[in-house]
Symmetry: C2
Subunit: 177 residues, 2 copies
Amino acid sequence: LRNLDILSQDVYYPPENFAHVIGNIYRSSFPRSENISFFKQHLKLKSILVLLSDDYPEELLNLYKKHDIKLFTCAIQGNKEPFINIQDETVNKALRIILNPENHPILIHCNKGKHRTGTIVGCIRKLQNWSLTMIFDEYRRFAFPKARGLDQQCIEMYNPNEIEHYAVERKWLPLNW
Amino acid sequence: LRNLDILSQDVYYPPENFAHVIGNIYRSSFPRSENISFFKQHLKLKSILVLLSDDYPEELLNLYKKHDIKLFTCAIQGNKEPFINIQDETVNKALRIILNPENHPILIHCNKGKHRTGTIVGCIRKLQNWSLTMIFDEYRRFAFPKARGLDQQCIEMYNPNEIEHYAVERKWLPLNW
């Protein structure tokens, strides 16, 4: 008998604003418990990086533990009043976690998957030498209807030289699809 | 000396509405000549599938030829007046090209990368057993501000059984990230 497992009727629930970024890196809004089977069966997630400083829901912590998913935290200030510039060093700290193959496959998330996540993904696109126009095209697609000029400015001002040297030295770059 | 090619200042221009779909499958709006270096250097594209019946720009045809990119055509009726339902067989015809590993990496495009492309990508998500909610979440992200109910209805009504059997038989499924 042919293997037709694929035809099973299991439905998978990715989180809202879910997408593949590049390589073994994914992005989304804040996960919910119904996303776990998608994470494990489809993405085979090894790690999750949350870009918030808030307490993490106990239910999810337990599910991650049960499914051997390691949770990293790297709190990033959102570009809302009072405005605090996101420092390059904060972005670099997140990227040292995200680019490290030992953590792959990894999912990056904040609350809506729009602003903090969109800013970090924009900085990853700079490592791929994407034009700013197309970095912003992607940023706005996910941030809609709340695209923030300051997030886009943060991406434009971010200087990727330091993390590039750090990552190339470790053969973490270039990133491949 | 360390290999720091990645640090070169070459800027890459993906097309608007560009994204990775899954595996070696990509999506975008109608390409332009400045996208070719991104296609070849980053995506290493082997094929492009256009979902329109219109004449294709001579300049692009020449560039594809020069860079060994094969162009497939599978005209899909857009969900605009006069409304013509997209038949499952038309979707299947496109999917037999898209899922075939011999054509990978492949880029799917229409004009804006919103409607025809979004409908076909939605049908691919059905092969991955995504929930309709999240298929539509993705469809609308790319179609904004012109999401069409009929495209979403076409995705919902599409029956993937035939193509699933065809593709599983050839070991083209399941699709992996």
